[in-house]
């Protein structure tokens, strides 16, 4: 009997314990991940309100002090490239582009430009929202806003927006460049569609309405204000805060990352176990 007890050594229980730990750990984490996402339900914006405000308010009447502040900022930061009346020099002519265009390029940090040879990128903006509005006010004061550009900086009200509609419109109009998860991707010849994970509601609406760089303009004939609000709600909702039920999101770039995980962690991990179980020579 003593013999028998001696044979069941702790060492023999290690594999069993390991498997149990892995399995129970996976189960617990997956269950808790499920529970936490269940608690954090996705907001649905379709509660009916008594008086429906417009989905987008275009703010285009600026005070003269805003214009003056904007002029100072513009002359200090932009005129070297765009000319002191924004008539264009190294950079393009900005007159008539409207306040929304200018606000977008400044508030996303694209302007002032650091390197004129590549596509302007999102970077931490140099100016705060108020200053960006002021610069937009100054540029808008120079010339009447051109045909097809929004007359003001869009303020989006997503309370009545429909996420389902936003999803449909996003897949139809935007996913072809920005990808379905909004992670962004390379387009032809060095251009790329940026990630949508940091844009504010106003910036999304501005991008849609003014079509920065290689992005097409979606005018009010293509997308109504209500539809833009739907898209904005979808981008700032499920796209920026995806429901990553089921574990680590792996960057939203799909099967490439998944393949590496499957091969390195899955097959690789199991091969290590095999290496441990088997003889080495």
């Amino acid at each position: 009997m003593r013999n028998l007890r001696r044979t069941i050594r702790v060492r023999h229980l290690v594999p069993v314990g390991l498997v149990l730990a892995v399995a129970v750990g996976g189960l617990l984490v997956s269950l808790s991940a499920g529970a936490s996402t269940r608690a954090r339900t996705v907001p649905s914006g379709s509660q009916a309100l008594a008086a429906t405000p417009p989905p987008i308010r275009y703010v285009g009447n600026f005070t003269s002090s805003q214009v003056r502040e904007g002029q100072l900022l513009f002359e200090a930061n932009c005129s070297s490239c765009h000319g002191d009346r924004a008539q264009g020099a190294v950079g393009p002519n900005l007159q008539g582009l409207g306040p929304a265009t200018v606000d977008f390029w400044v508030s996303t940090g694209r302007m002032p430009l650091a390197d004129a040879s590549v596509q302007a990128t999102q970077k931490p903006p140099r100016f705060n929202g108020q200053q960006a509005t002021a610069i937009a006010a100054f540029v808008a004061s120079l010339a009447p806003t051109g045909q097809g550009f929004p007359s003001g900086i869009p303020h989006v009200d997503t309370r009545n927006a429909s996420l389902a509609m936003g999803n449909r419109l996003f897949v139809l109009n935007c996913a072809a460049c920005h990808t379905i998860t909004g992670a962004g991707d390379a387009l032809a010849a060095g251009a790329y569609a940026p990630s949508l994970h940091v844009a504010t509601p106003t910036q999304v609406a501005e991008a849609i309405r003014t079509g920065p760089g290689n992005m097409p303009v979606f005018g009010s004939g293509t997308l109504s204000d209500a539809q833009v609000a739907d898209i904005v709600a979808y981008v700032t909702g499920p796209i920026q805060h995806p429901n990553n039920r089921g574990g680590l999101g792996l960057g939203g770039i799909g099967p490439v990352a998944e393949g590496f995980v499957a091969l390195l962690i899955g097959v690789g991990g199991i091969m290590l176990i095999a290496f441990w179980l088997g003889e080495r020579a």
Binding site: G26, S30, P43, A281
Partner: protein, 514 residues
């Protein structure tokens, strides 16, 4: 049945027959299971770890079957349109196929549905990955040589069937990304000269996207037809394995005419059962911890919608990569168009690949003139040419796999997509050549160098009385020489343990031909 440490003397002689014995006797009297069972239990498994790689595939397949049955209970294989009103709000009120709606439901509404769904997908990725690794071990050690060419062919068939079944399964949820994949498959079918359009119409039951028949058709292939064929072939694979016995690495006491290792029962049985649970455990952990294919973020498939950054699962990557980097050549004439840019990479290339894989053992026999039977494995470095060719092929397919993520790479490294594309057109050809030559050289150098691959002896640092330090090689430790692999005699097949001398689990040697 763990009797390690016992000697026969410990055991009471004249054991009373237990209920198990009685049951087995009953079966044996009717079916004669003792003989087959003896063969099975005495099957000797070499202990080298690389012999467990095939088992990873086997056990992932078991996990695939189990999780797949669960999914079948909730999945609706239909493209009939419904309007979704479920737990996942962003899709509320969206029109979609029943297939997609039921997959979203499995992910959100069915208890533990998402874990099982993700386990199934991870298991598929690991299944095919382990087949590839297993195949590498067979290839690089020359286990496919006579008399095992048939088993190699069965193996290659398994590989390709597994890939096809993976693609079918990936297509079932009818989400935007997999829908794009089906669309590509349709175009590939169309590109076949002469019969393409008929074939595509035949498979899809009409012009793409068909009349809603494609999902039900894929479904029945994916859950019934192909798994049945795969299971049958695995059976044949293992039957041949038992019949022909394992190969083994050359070593102390191992010859062309014996197999040294652990018997099926009890040693290997215990090991392999543990391994089954560990494989399942890893897959379970992946299913719970790492997200895979979050189809609810993609939305349902609508033929005129498209997303960028679409890749197939990794095992289709080499095909996708070939499609991507192919220059756009086309033949137009005689009232027909042959899109070579689709036909060559999409049809001809995988076709040639499978033919090459299937016929490799015969090709090698032709090239080397070696038609002898081989039960002892090669060390890869001792066959520099085969090893180099294998490494070059691996590099080739790996490069194609990387080419399937041209857009992701371009975006990640912030370079132009066109540059990445052209780079891959060269890299796919250049890298395999370099890898091949390099491997060849390394193999030659390794065979030349003494003591390469031997276990290092421990070194002692000794301080003399005068304070001088010297190093001396330590005496060999137990285990250094692998004396544990010393073969022990075993009884013949049919004899029961009563008249055999060897009762202990441990290393045995059996004759190859009985």
């Amino acid at each position: 049945m763990s009797t390690t440490g016992h000697t026969t003397a410990d055991r009471p002689s004249g054991r009373r027959p237990s209920a198990v014995d009685a049951g087995l006797n009953w079966l044996d009297d009717r079916l004669g299971v003792a003989k087959g069972g003896r063969v099975f239990m005495d099957k000797i498994f070499p202990d080298h770890w690389s012999f467990l790689l095939g088992e990873i595939a086997l056990y992932s397949f078991v996990v695939l079957l189990a999780t797949g049955v669960f999914l079948t209970l909730y999945f609706v294989p239909s493209t009939a349109q419904t309007v979704y009103h479920g737990v996942y709000k962003p899709l509320d009120g969206v029109k979609m196929s029943e297939a997609y709606a039921s997959t979203v439901n499995i992910s959100f509404a069915v208890r533990s549905g998402l874990v099982i769904r993700q386990m199934h997908h991870w298991a598929a990725d690991v299944f095919i990955g382990s087949i590839a690794v297993h195949m590498c071990r067979i290839f690089f050690t020359g286990a496919f040589r006579k008399p095992r060419e048939l088993n190699w062919i069965v193996g290659v068939s398994l590989l390709f069937l597994a890939i096809v079944n993976g693609f079918l399964g990936y297509s079932l949820p009818d989400d935007l990304i997999s829908g794009t994949g089906i669309r590509i498959a349709y175009s590939i079918l169309l590109s076949i000269p002469l019969v393409g359009s008929y074939l595509a119409t035949f498979v899809f039951g009409g012009v793409f996207p068909g009349n809603g028949v494609i999902i039900p058709r894929f479904f029945i292939l994916h859950v019934l037809v192909l798994p049945a064929i795969i299971a049958g072939l695995i059976g044949a694979h293992l039957f041949m394995l038992v019949r022909q016995k394992h190969t083994q690495f050359p070593g102390h006491g191992r010859t062309e005419d014996n197999v040294v290792g652990s018997p099926m029962f009890p040693t290997f049985m215990a090991k392999t059962t543990g391994f089954l649970f560990m494989v399942a455990g890893v897959l379970w952990a992946l299913g719970g911890l790492a997200q895979i294919n979050p189809i609810w973020q993609f939305g349902p498939y609508v033929p005129y919608k498209i997303s960028y950054a679409v890749q197939p699962d990794w095992y289709m990557g080499w095909l996708d990569g070939a499609l991507r980097i192919m220059p756009s050549w086309e033949f137009a004439g005689f009232g027909h168009t042959i899109p070579f840019e689709v036909f060559l990479p999409g049809v001809l290339f995988p076709g040639l690949t499978s033919i090459l894989f299937i016929f490799w053992p015969f090709l090698e026999q032709k090239l080397t003139g070696d038609r002898a039977e081989h039960n002892l494995l090669d060390r890869p470095r001792d066959r520099p040419r085969r090893t180099a060719v294998g490494a070059a092929f691996l590099a080739f397919y790996f490069m194609l796999f990387c080419a399937s993520s041209t857009d992701v790479l371009a975006n990640f490294f912030q370079v132009s997509l066109n540059v990445v594309l052209w780079t891959f057109r060269f890299v796919v050809i250049v890298v395999p050549i370099i890898v091949g030559l390099f491997t060849y050289r390394i193999c030659l150098d390794m065979t030349g160098a003494p003591r390469v691959g031997k276990r290092k002896r421990a070194v002692l640092i000794v301080r003399s009385a005068t304070g001088e330090y010297t190093t001396v090689e330590a005496a060999p430790r137990p285990g250094d020489g692998h004396q544990e692999l010393e073969p022990a005699p075993v009884p013949g097949f049919i004899q029961g343990p009563e008249d055999g001398e060897e009762r202990e689990p441990g290393v045995r040697r059996v004759a190859r031909r009985t």
